[in-house]
């Protein structure tokens, strides 16, 4: 088990370094004067210029700059926005609401996805399965922002069940609708994966053996079919987190939620590439960390993995 954990931890290092290298290269690929880029293309005096060059180590060789980029990323030093605010402060202020939104979305995704997927898989090709299949295919086909608008218009504007936008003083109940929207696209995949997995396990030899032991159908389904089907689903939910983060940018923008995603969107709109890269770097770090956790969870769920 510990070797697996160690190996998995070691593997994370090159991945993390590589990812920062890609983001760093993209930052360097921007055309034009790097100092003007940093200052938001406003003319600057020579003093400011020198100060910025020193602050961002622009005179050092590229390799050193990358090492510093990595160091800064690890120490959460993401530089400043054009208006002079440290990017990490921005993230710190906006991150909590995004986490709450993502956790709610993930919970909806996992709970509904697994329940519906299991029911569909247990009665494969039945009426319920067909309905779920059709709905999930439609959900996959409609982009998340269209779903967001439709939900906003219907429940926020027309029916007025919930406020159409969230705004600065968010409450949990206001986040329910955005979380559902965020969950919707992934949740269709979760259903389908669970369904396939359950249907496959249902015909497995060891499930037949469990029935032969005299276990009740309920026990067989819970301990042998569901338990085994969850292994791939959990892995998938981990990969899902990535889509969830990108989706957060869109959902937060539509519902005007003051989260990290919305901040990224505003930076994109203002053309502040360095801020965008900083926020994305932060998100990638979170994602890499979460993937690591999911993989460790995977080892807990599947004893065979621990011995690899």
């Amino acid at each position: 088990m510990w070797w697996y954990v160690g190996k998995r931890l070691l593997q994370t290092i090159p991945v993390f370094l590589g990812a920062t290298l890609i983001l760093f290269s993209l930052l360097k690929l921007r055309p034009g004067d790097p100092i003007l880029n940093l200052a938001g293309n406003k003319p600057v005096s020579q003093e400011v210029r020198d100060a910025l060059a020193a602050q961002y180590n622009l005179d050092d060789p590229l390799f050193v700059q990358w090492v510093l980029f990595v160091k800064n990323a690890i120490t959460f030093n993401f530089g400043e926005t054009f208006s002079g605010q440290p990017v990490f402060d921005l993230i710190k202020d906006t991150f909590p609401v995004t986490v709450v939104l993502a956790v709610m979305a993930l919970a909806i995704d996992a709970i509904l996805g697994i329940i519906l997927g299991t029911l569909a898989g247990l009665r494969r090709n039945g009426a319920f399965d067909t309905v779920v299949l059709v709905i999930s295919l439609i959900l996959i086909s409609v982009p998340i922002f269209v779903v967001g608008f439709v939900a906003q218009l219907t429940f926020g504007v027309k029916l007025q069940w919930v406020p159409a936008t969230v705004g600065g003083d968010w409450t949990l109940s206001e986040l329910v609708l955005p979380a559902i929207v965020l969950a919707v696209a992934n949740f269709a995949y979760t259903i389908r994966l669970t369904r396939t997995s359950v249907a496959e396990n249902l015909t497995a030899d060891h499930v037949r053996t469990a029935r032969a032991k005299g276990l009740s159908n309920r026990l067989v389904v819970r301990n042998h079919v569901l338990r085994n089907s969850l292994v791939p689903v959990v892995t998938y939910l981990g990969i899902n987190l990535g889509a969830l983060m990108a989706g957060a940018i869109i959902t937060e923008t539509i519902f005007n939620i003051p989260g990290v995603g919305n901040t990224a969107f505003l930076a994109i709109q203002r053309g502040e590439t360095s801020t965008v890269v900083a926020i994305v770097t932060f998100m990638v770090m979170v994602y890499v960390l979460m993937s690591l956790l999911v993989d460790l969870l995977y080892a807990v769920l599947d004893p065979r993995i621990r011995y690899v």
Binding site: H206, K213, L215, S216, P303
Partner: protein, 569 residues
């Protein structure tokens, strides 16, 4: 006698729904089992024997149904019972030991837990008492160190250990009837024998009736006193085991008794037949050798030893317990043998004995760590240049074990057989086509299969195609790596006959790799017995069968099912 039958199956019909069609898998089967009695159901794959067993325990797959007849367990009809009634029978009244130990344990639960489930579900014991009982049951099933083993996961068990765990599970709630569905066919023969012996003793002491499902007539006759022979969904013959074996009446049973290798290997007639074939083959081969010795074509000098392996050793580096460590694993340890022209040398061993690794080294698919292979006096490693290496390939061709993987599923039969000719640029398109037709004829396949694909052929037919492909380049040596192991007994016998005929006609030399000592007598002249990478015994077939020198060889021979049965003819 007023004894009541434990199980009575009366005119049972089971059908499978495939689309709109209803396929009948079991058609009018009737049988009776008394308490404590062992009966065996024998049949080839697709005969309906497993379906019958699954119907008895109410575990037919989703598209299967009992379409007629009765299954009376202690007088109550299971076929008409509802789900919860059948459920209450499972485990406590009828137990199951399934076929494949690898897939029948849930990989995510500890073995002990899986047995405990059976105890709890059937109300035998709960909590600590159940844990204690699990250990007793595992010990009873012959698993040493049961306390530790119960805490382990299935992947930490070997195949034999898993099968023991499955036996413990099947007997956990002390059922009155145990259905053993090919319980040992995935295991090595010596392990198979140990486990079956143990199962015999156990069921006898407990007074459990056993319904043994098997494809092996010898095994069935050895273990059961009542036999039921199934063929294409029907029971063709049933009755006392000894009677059926000595005087089979139905033509199918007669065929089975005549051809089953475990029984045929005991017959002296097969020894005589083999001697005859060998004589012809050696004649044909010496004619070939003459041509080589006096011509310039071909590889080698035309000597009588066509393949000589000298001190072959293969060491694999395996990953150790820690990432930076590696462990040397000696798969083949100093193996030497000689294959004489026009004869067959068999390499016999259980899984992990290194026999297939030897085959791969002889075929030059795997470089030996040390030692060398001589082909007709020429060191294989000394061959330089693509031309000479291709020449060697022409002379030695393999036929592999798995008929489902040995042909490219995307290639038509014609494409598969013609591929060696194309690769070597032999002949024009017309000549190649003629050669393929000739080869199909040699392996007794109709020319209509040419345009078919492997997926449409049976296992035996695919093996024929693989043999045709191997013969396309007119090789002198064919290496058969478990070439008949995956086939039904009758098909197996048929392919062995084909190989014998081809050897006699073409003067081929075979290196025959097998785990099954029973088939050896029908095809081989020399035998190499391997264990853990080493040669344990090397001798002629007659000597190995009649006078085995080594204890391991004796054990292998003793483990051939049906060895103790007296035959009529």
């Amino acid at each position: 006698m007023t004894e009541q039958p434990l199980l009575e199956v009366k005119d049972l019909k089971v059908g499978f729904r495939a689309g709109k069609e209803l396929l009948t898998a079991v058609d009018g089967a009737s049988l009776t089992i008394y308490p404590g009695q062992t009966i065996a159901i024998v049949g080839e794959s697709g005969s309906g024997k497993s379906t019958l067993a699954h119907a008895v325990i109410g575990l037919l797959p989703g598209n299967g149904h009992v379409t007629g007849g009765e299954i009376l367990f202690e007088g109550r009809d299971i076929a008409a019972a509802n789900k919860s009634q059948i459920m209450s029978l499972r485990g406590s009244s009828i137990g199951l030991v399934p076929q494949d130990p690898m897939s029948n344990l849930n990989p995510l639960w500890r073995v002990g837990h899986q047995i405990k489930e059976a105890l709890v579900a059937n109300g035998v014991a709960t909590g600590k008492a159940a844990d204690q009982r699990v250990i007793e049951l595992l010990e009873e099933a012959g698993l040493p160190d049961a306390e530790r083993r119960a805490r382990q996961y299935p992947h930490e068990f070997s195949g034999g250990m898993r099968q023991r765990a499955l036996i413990a599970m099947g007997l956990a709630a002390r059922p009155k009837l145990l259905i053993a569905d090919e319980p040992t066919s995935a295991l090595d023969v010596t392990v198979q024998q140990q486990i079956l012996d143990h199962l015999d003793t156990l069921t006898e002491t407990l007074g459990v009736a056993v319904m043994l499902i098997t494809h092996d007539l010898g095994l069935a006759a050895e273990r059961a006193d009542h036999l039921v022979v199934m063929y294409r969904g029907r029971i063709v013959e049933s009755g006392p085991a000894a009677e059926i074996l000595q005087a089979p009446e139905h033509p199918y049973t007669q065929r089975l008794v005549a051809k089953a290798p475990s029984i045929a290997s005991l017959r002296l007639s097969s020894v005589k037949e083999r001697a005859h074939i060998r004589e012809q083959a050696e004649q044909a081969a010496s004619a070939v050798a003459d041509k080589i010795a006096h011509g310039t074509a071909g590889l080698g000098v035309g000597s009588s030893d066509i393949v000589v392996a000298e001190n072959l050793t293969k060491i694999f580096k395996l990953r150790g317990a820690r990432p930076w460590e590696s462990v040397d694993f000696t798969a083949v340890d100093n193996v030497s043998f000689t294959l004489r022209r026009g004869t067959t040398t068999a390499i016999v061993g259980e899984s992990g004995s290194g026999k297939s690794t030897v085959a791969r080294m002889v075929l030059d698919l795997l470089p030996p760590t040390s030692g060398r292979v001589l082909f007709d006096g020429v060191d294989v490693k000394s061959l330089s240049g693509k031309q000479q290496q291709l020449e060697l390939r022409r002379q030695m061709q393999p036929v592999f074990q798995n008929p489902y993987a040995s042909l490219d599923p995307l290639y038509s039969i014609y494409q598969s057989i013609v591929e060696p000719l194309r690769t070597h640029g032999v002949g024009s398109k017309k000549e190649q086509e003629a050669k393929v037709l000739d080869l199909l004829d040699k392996v007794s396949l109709p020319t209509t299969v040419m345009s078919r694909y492997p997926g449409e052929l049976s296992g035996g037919q695919r093996q024929r195609v693989a043999i045709a492909r191997a013969l396309a380049l007119d090789p002198e040596v064919v290496i058969c790596d478990e070439a008949v192991s995956a086939l039904d007994v009758l098909v197996q016998a048929q392919i062995l006959e084909l190989l014998n005929d081809l050897q006699a006609e073409l003067g081929l030399s075979y290196l025959f790799i097998t785990h099954d000592l029973a088939v050896v007598r029908q095809i081989a002249d020399e035998v190499l017995v391997m264990q853990d990478g080493k040669v344990v015994e090397a001798a002629s077939v007659t000597q190995v069968f009649d006078n085995p020198a080594e204890e391991y060889t004796q054990r292998l021979l003793g483990a051939i099912p049906g060895a103790s049965i007296a035959l009529g003819s």
